[in-house]
């Protein structure tokens, strides 16, 4: 399709469909690519991200797994060393904790230890759960654990286009890539290129522009940050909003340049604030643009306790757009009444529907 035609007729998919399409295209293009996962061939197909693949590619290439995560992760690494390109999928981040040993000790290091002779081209898809009282062991956003490890690459899409593009970029990468999909981002809808176009794993995307503050978000929190940014813009406060997309390698040039201009930084990520992604960004930006800062950088993240199941506790647990507005408003020195006005309006909109399911306005298309 010529570019013009493509633009005139957007092709709207949700991120789950986009992932499935990207996976199928990668498998068609390269017979070394195969999928491993508990439920990869079952009727639900990992939230629709693998449905139909086994029908097209067979059980040799879309492999149902025993409940034995560290084992099959090691098997995948071995196959990758021998030239295969496995895509592993876990229905929750927590299940991959059992495979941390293989990922951290072997996948992340074997290229380095072998002086560059071994390659472990492996994509590990992890899903962050949220909502419906899933509680402490089915909702953790542990990207900081993975991003801490040299040798792993870590990416988090926040849109349907990125979900496909980053997956394809990860499949092409010659090393291990952890792709962390927020369960609520699976519902994000938007234009997705029908072609298999791999996106390089090389850094943030700017989604909004403004001189008042620099905002860096990840994954699902990008959708919350967009809502906050637009509400603030309507009140005359304009922010540079960056969706980080790739957590490791961390490329902050554009963000540092932005902070040099705005003098202000707010980070919004899906993990715990302490030792989190925001902490790393604040540290680096502060070191590089210290003299430009006009206010103390602020981090928005999860509080310092596990995810409770009960809705009253979970509602207070997750930061949403009103909190982002309040934080940015404070950092830029907006009058309190102006901040409160936006915060109350957004909060009322959000409280009108249950908070433990994705808000309808967050499905896009974006």
């Amino acid at each position: 399709m010529p570019d013009a035609a493509r633009q005139s007729a957007p092709r709207i998919l949700d991120a789950a469909d986009a992932i499935r399409e990207g996976t199928a295209q990668a498998m068609r293009a390269d017979e070394r690519v195969f999928v491993m996962g508990e439920g990869a061939t079952d009727p639900k197909g990992v939230f629709g991200t693998t449905t139909g693949l086994v029908q097209e590619f067979g059980t040799d290439r879309v492999m149902e797994m025993p409940v034995a995560e560290n084992g099959w992760t090691g098997v995948a690494i071995g196959a990758a060393l021998c030239g295969q390109r496995p895509i592993l999928v876990h229905q929750r981040v927590e299940f991959s904790l059992l495979a941390m040993e293989q990922l951290v000790n072997n996948a992340a290091k074997i290229h380095y230890v072998s002086g560059g002779r071994h390659r472990a081209p492996l994509v590990v898809r992890l899903v962050v759960g949220r909502g419906w009282g899933q509680g402490p062991a089915h909702s953790q956003s542990l990207e900081a654990l993975f991003a801490h490890i040299p040798g792993l690459k870590v990416a988090m899409p926040s849109s349907a286009a990125d979900a496909k593009g980053l997956l394809l970029g990860a499949v092409q990468d010659d090393g291990p890539v952890i792709l962390i999909e927020h369960r609520w981002v699976h519902y994000a809808r938007g234009h997705v290129d029908p072609e298999p176009i791999a996106m390089p794993l090389d850094g943030p995307r700017q989604l909004r522009s403004g001189d008042d503050c620099t905002v860096v978000s990840t994954s699902y929190m990008t959708l919350e940050a967009l809502q906050a940014a637009d509400a603030l813009a309507a009140a005359g406060c304009n922010v540079d909003l960056f969706d980080l997309r790739v957590l490791r390698p961390l490329k902050l040039d554009a963000i540092v340049a932005s902070v040099r201009r705005t003098g202000r930084l707010v980070t919004v990520d899906t993990g715990h604030a302490t030792y989190g992604i925001g902490a790393e960004i604040v540290a680096r930006v502060t070191a590089e643009a210290f003299s430009s800062l006009r206010a103390a950088p602020q981090r928005i993240g999860l509080p310092e306790h596990p995810t409770p199941s009960a809705r009253t506790l979970a509602e207070a647990y997750y930061p949403r757009s009103p909190k982002i507005v309040a934080t940015i408003g404070d950092v830029v020195g907006m009058p309190k009444a102006a901040i409160d006005e936006i915060v109350h309006r957004l909060a009322a909109e959000r409280d009108a529907v249950p908070l433990d399911i994705p808000h309808p306005s967050f499905k896009g298309p974006f």
Binding site: D42, E64, P66, A68, L97, A137, P308, S309, L313
Partner: protein, 336 residues
Amino acid sequence: MTDTTTTTLSVVTDEPTRLELFRSMLRIRRIEEEIARRYGEQRMRCPVHLSVGQEAAAVGTCSALRPTDQIVSTHRCHGHYLAKGGDLRAMIAELYGKATGCCGGRGGSMHLFDPAAGVLASVPIVGSNVPIGVGAALTAKQRRRPDVAVAFFGDGAFEEGVVHEAANFAGCHRLPMIFVLENNLYSVYTPVDQRQPARAGEQPMAGFAQTHGLAAEHADGNDVVAVHEAMGRAVVRARRGDGPSLLVVDTYRFLEHCGASDDDHLGYRPVGELATWRDRCPVAGTRAALRDAGLLDVATELAMESAIVREIDEAFAAADAAPYPAAHTAMEAVHA
């Protein structure tokens, strides 16, 4: 009652016990049916993994235990918790996310526990509970308590490395530990034959016992008396210091893996399989056996039913009336 004095390991089930096994199964069935009936109201806002069809496994095993014996359960913990004497009100309140729940609403349906009843913990990460149970058995041995510990796990958990590591440990140290493997043929929607190799022999999972130095028991998991007696033998061995056992029970889940509905339309079960197992319903089967033996008349069962229904209604009403946990309590108990 289980005879724990005998040195031969014959365990027999007397008539009052058989009646009590039936009542306990019926109670669990009615409780989970009520959860299923009300789940659509969307006020129990947490995932639920019902054990409808698997009641004999929970009741047959837990009925051979004492309150001081510890069990550890899984995501599918309702039946184990109730059979072991876990508090019904605290369970229902937990499903409603209320402050009066056994976890104060923090855990939801997959984290049930009740220290007074010896329900040490339920853990929703597959296989993760099993070494915790071995830790309870180790404590009993170290503190010279006459208690046993029991870990429930499924055919899926059987595949986890940690389960084998835990069994090796228990075997090595001759702990008073019983591993109860509930083989319901599936992990979520995936049948066991897609996840495990075909193994020779009538008891394909019994090799686990041999490998790890456990005594092996097997029972029809839908025959509550058979489960009770096999468990009784394992308990006798554990209490007298003869070490750990594996008890494999074959059973079947009637409803969907997670949630409260039928799921036969998904097509992952072979046609007719569900119907075959429903014909072997543990509750109906036990009822029929008791009737045939003249141990259960209609009036007795009706009395049981109405007591159960009253208890259930009270538990749901109490959960309904209870407060939600206050947001400001969320930071409590992060550190000990």
